[in-house]
Symmetry: C2
Subunit: 98 residues, 2 copies
């Protein structure tokens, strides 16, 4: 889970994930959309790959990047468990409807 949080802790990497929702892209196409050098984007893609958030597949000269959201499941479960756990404070809030 550490790699996952690390990967998400950067605006560029989160933008890349959002970008890939529109469909797969190769490294160059991703880099084009950022005001940053290709090696920097390559590094971000590497961290996303390490976290399992993207899958890289070589296609000839190009490297295709695809979103993999299954890794987010654990995080989602952890987050939702917080929603369930009602804080003692929430009991203080009176019903505002009458």
């Amino acid at each position: 889970m550490n790699n996952l949080f690390k990967a998400l802790n950067d605006p560029t990497r989160r933008q890349i994930l959002d970008l890939l929702r529109g469909g797969d892209l190769n490294a160059g196409e991703i880099a084009e959309r950022f005001d940053m050098t290709k090696p920097s984007i390559s590094h971000h893609l590497d961290l996303l790959r390490q976290a399992g958030l993207v899958e890289a597949t070589k296609q000839g000269q190009f490297i295709n990047y695809a979103l993999n959201t299954t890794v987010l499941d654990d995080l989602l479960v952890w987050l939702m468990s917080f929603q369930k756990t009602d804080t003692p404070t929430s009991a203080k809030t009176p019903d505002q409807t009458h």
Copy 2:
């Protein structure tokens, strides 16, 4: 959202959040549970506070820390939007039931 990801990107801070699910604790009680100096924990609490994940209220000599999970809502929404967005790849997977 940047502060939020930053705050979550540390195992100690995530443990503190998990700890506070059992109820409020003051800084000393939190520090006791970690193999780390009080100033270090104090720093972690500060980052959690900056992210809005905990609320600090002074009670005499002590400072009480309480979980605030409302900040996680945005993150939860962002995450769930990935679950909905079916990747083109998933269509490839044939029905395995027959």
